[in-house]
């Protein structure tokens, strides 16, 4: 009998293609996994980080491939906004992985986005908060660009959403 835990372990292998150190589980985009009792059908529920993110289709295909590779025959991967993603859904492990990758992790916040949250980001290289927001847009939809006045380097942040 397949279990949710077993499937989640397999899915650890699927990474965000733009941030290859971060698994989809740690990113928080896998919102549910169910195994139906009668026919062992596996349903994986996913939700996009940003609605226009071109990597989502790719991630969905990777999830399907991992299920197939592990011998699951009857499965469905569904993408919806039913449990919408926000940046608080990134796990602690995921935040550490982001920082080690050189991306400032999004701060835990009350989901009311104001300028203060974006303007005082800790530099992932030297931890200083003497940083400036340069632009709320970056090389991918989920990143903003900042400058650290302490270590004098540009860095990117995974944007709070």
């Amino acid at each position: 009998m397949l279990t949710k835990e077993q499937i989640l372990t397999w899915l650890e292998e699927v990474k965000d293609p733009e941030i290859p150190v971060l698994s989809l589980i740690d990113l928080g985009v896998i919102t549910d996994v169910t195994v139906s009792e009668n026919d062992e059908k596996v349903t994986v529920e996913m939700t996009p980080t940003f609605s226009g993110c071109p990597a989502m289709d790719y991630m969905k295909r990777n999830v399907e491939e991992v299920l197939a590779k592990n011998g699951v025959q009857n499965f469905e991967v569904r993408m919806s906004f039913d449990k919408p993603w926000d940046s608080n859904k990134i796990s602690e492990k995921g935040k550490i992985a982001l920082k080690n990758f050189g991306l400032a992790p999004p701060p835990e916040y009350n989901l009311i986005l104001d300028l203060d949250i974006l303007e005082h980001v800790n530099c992932p290289y030297c931890n200083s908060d003497n940083t400036d927001l340069k632009t709320p847009f970056g090389p991918t939809l989920c990143r903003s660009m900042h400058y650290c006045n302490n270590c004098r380097q540009m860095f990117e942040q995974f944007k709070p959403l």
Binding site: P48, F50, S51, G52, C53, P54, F81, D82, P84, W85, D86, L111, L113, L115, L118, K134, T135, P136, F137, G138, P139, L141, M145, K159, L161
Partner: protein
């Protein structure tokens, strides 16, 4: 629930996003500075994602699939406001349009988070967070450039005067306005316009730009009913060029 009214609402929102998304993408590779090139390109990508979300809601209501809706209609079947179809012009015009449009869009999404039609509230709740970044970008740039050099202020003022009649066309009431309000689906264009005006005034008051007297301006309406400027059809032809040659093409 009046399905026709609901579809009309979804079409105008989705079409605004698709067309402005396409216009924003025309800045890719041409932005005046790298950060603005990236900003307009990112917003283009977001807006296409937003239009997909709303076209998907239409698909659930029995309309064609999102690609067919996006790529096979002619200009007179589009419900976008004329503001979004205008050419990108120079950077000052695109910035002013982005400021005027996104300040309305975020309030529209906020209203829709309270809609009686649950599928809309789900989508609006998600997208509101993304549009916040668009508004943050627009307001920051307007505040900075709108109080900088004489040339910047003069250019922005001209673009504001030019764009404003079209921006008022965003709020052209639908023929289903009363039903949408009565059913609790949408709070209506009048209310949206009032809230929008208050917000853009707040930003403009921190600059040397002046909001023209709105009572002297005739809104450029018609877009919501399929009447468009000569600029929309060429945009659609370009956007759908590959799809029309080969609808199954992948890239």
């Amino acid at each position: 629930m009046n399905t026709e009214a609901l579809k009309d609402l979804l079409y105008k929102i989705a079409d605004d996003q698709l067309i402005l998304g396409h216009r924003n993408s025309e800045w890719t590779g041409f932005g005046p500075i790298l950060e603005e090139d990236i900003a307009f390109s990112s917003m283009a990508q977001d807006k296409l994602g937003h239009s997909l979300a709303f076209y998907s809601l239409l698909h659930e209501l029995g309309e064609s699939d999102p690609d067919t809706i996006a790529f096979t209609r002619n200009a007179n079947q589009f419900h976008n406001s004329q503001l979004v179809e205008l050419p990108i012009g120079e950077y000052d015009f695109s910035l002013i349009r982005h400021f005027l449009f996104d300040n309305a869009e975020i309030l529209r999404f906020d209203m829709l988070t309270r809609s009686s039609y649950t599928p809309i509230t789900t989508v609006a709740t998600k997208l509101k967070g993304e549009v916040k970044y668009h508004v943050l970008h627009a307001n920051t740039m307007i505040k900075q450039l709108g109080s900088s050099t004489e040339e910047a202020i003069g250019r922005l003022q001209n673009s504001l005067n030019e764009a404003l009649p079209y921006a008022l066309g965003i709020f052209e009431p639908s023929k289903y306005e009363a039903e949408l309000i009565a059913d609790g689906i949408y709070e209506g264009e009048e209310k949206l316009k009032a809230a929008w005006l208050e917000n853009i005034k707040k930003v403009l008051s921190q600059t040397q730009l002046e909001l023209p007297d709105l009572t002297t301006i005739t809104p450029k309406n018609g877009g919501r009913y399929g009447e468009h400027t000569e600029h929309l059809q060429p945009l659609l032809d370009e956007m759908a060029e590959v799809f029309k040659i080969d609808p199954t093409a992948e890239w």
